[in-house]
Amino acid sequence: MDRRERPGLTPDHAVILPMPESLYKLLQDAATKHGGRIALVAGDHSMTYAELLYASDRAAAYLAGHGARPGRRVAFCFRKSTDAIVALFGLIRTGATYVPLDPAWPVERIRTLCRDAEISLWTGTDPPPAVPGIVASVTSKTKSEGGASLDSAAEIEPDGAPPQRPPDGVTNILYTSGSTGQPKGVEITERSLLHFSQWVVATFGLTAEDRVANHAPYNFDLSTLDIFAAVRAGATMYPVPERVKMFPYQLAEFIAEKKITTWYSVPSALIMLQLRGRLEVHDLSELRHVIFAGEVMPKSALQGLARRLPNAAFTNLYGPTETNVCTWHRIEERDLTSDEPIPIGRPIDDTRVWIVGEDGAEVGNGDSGELLVAGPTLTAGYFGDGSSTDHRLIPAPDGRGRAYRTGDRVSRGNDGVLMFHGRLDRMIKCRGHRIEPGEIEAVLCRHPNVKEAAVIPIPDPVFGNRIRACVAAHDDRSIQEPELASLCRNELPSCMLPDEWRLVDRLPRTDRGKVDYARLAAAETPNSPDGTERVRVGQSPADGD
């Protein structure tokens, strides 16, 4: 049979189907409806939606000419800028899958992730580090001397090809810390981003009048709200410059000057604002939505913020990267006055959740167990890691597709509202970043003098947790904390660097021979006279020095 006669395979087939929604169409629609409105303001640069679409169309053709196409993964390593957003939509239009990398990461980590994601094309503010496999790069403006730059894209004609889509539906891959010592690539689908952005626009009533801050880095799932919900609403994006983020008073000034209406960040950023931003001297009356996610917001900080931001509604969003946002809770008056922790709330639209015990059976109201999540925002899996995918994505209890095992201990009240009670494994949340202690331990154990290492969280009122590294050297060797710190700085992002060091003779173990993390957390000794801290946590106080 001639292939063209087979039903469903005619070349026109795609054309006669109704045009499905796509991420690129969000931008096209914004340019149609709000073409003259400002899409984004970054430093001295701003662009209207018409300009953003024009530039993205050209960037797409230019990037396609350098190898971006469906099925390819492209590194995306930008500082906050208009270029970044143009490259992002350009890549989406080519149907390539983009892999956000943080320019602040150590080169070694960027190399590792490029290799893991099998990157052949690099896009970024700066040129790529030397990585085998990267055969082309497109960078910001004058940064690249002689190389391809996004500036050149503005001079070419778009190819007129329709926007492509990734064949497996994976729009981007977000790398998170991995318990086995290697970062894991979480595949984020276009369906997830479309569903989530739609839910955000409807829930928060975002409109073209809104000014949305983009605080989170692009490799962090929080940024998908700032970008895709803003574009869906035709709102204006305001990327927060890296250096402003670090200084609470300037951050408050930024929110006031830009008249930000919608803010989404990890709690620690808001706590810093509340503690040192001097909110009382800034006019923050335009701020109507303050949204936080990523870790537990302390009640005292929330009360302080609520006093200073009377026009703002506060909302707690919950969800690991693998589910983007899956539950939410609008803060009410009683949340501010009660002693109870802030709930993680109820599932967002079309999302199903279960709380199961160790036997896999659902637990009763009030009992805690592991939270399972199913719905349109679910990840497609871990890139190149089928066994982790099968371990975490299991058949949904209701038989409809798969559910993600969050590893979070959660309970449900009689009113259906979910409460978070911590992790079932050793994962640490620190300033909203998730950190697998195993990844830091693996780096420490690469030092030839290190026999064993254990990393534990120490609770911190502002930053959620601080990281304590306990390290034991081989019997005839010695180690010093600055050496270990340098080793970590060369391989790990700053959020994963230990804040405290404990050099120990050996790690304490339980009767079963497992590392006794509780004893490590309890170990405290005053500084010795020479300024180094040497703790004999492997021994009882009686046989210490």
Binding site: S268, R276, R431, V462, F463, E483
Partner: protein, 81 residues
């Protein structure tokens, strides 16, 4: 101990532990060296509690925190204020 010495010690022994042979010059950009938001906060607490100098929140800028030299200048000025 003078302010500069105490600052250098806190920075390069505690906040950004660095082998003694590789301590950066006093003009080096601390933000490039890894002074992030958490460590900026810890630095401010150190100056206020251990050096006893009150630093107004609105004066905390990248310029004043950017290097040991800038910090010393700012702390001295704040101490006189």
């Amino acid at each position: 101990m003078e302010t500069r010495q105490q600052l250098r010690q806190h920075l390069f022994e505690t906040l950004i532990p660095t082998p003694a042979s590789a301590w950066p010059a006093d003009g080096a950009d601390l933000l490039e060296l890894g002074l992030d938001s958490l460590r900026v906060m810890q630095l401010l607490v150190f100056v206020e509690e251990r050096l006893g100098v009150n630093l107004p929140d609105h004066e905390v800028t990248p310029e004043r925190i950017g290097s040991v030299n800038a910090l010393v200048e700012w702390i001295d000025a704040s101490a006189r204020a």
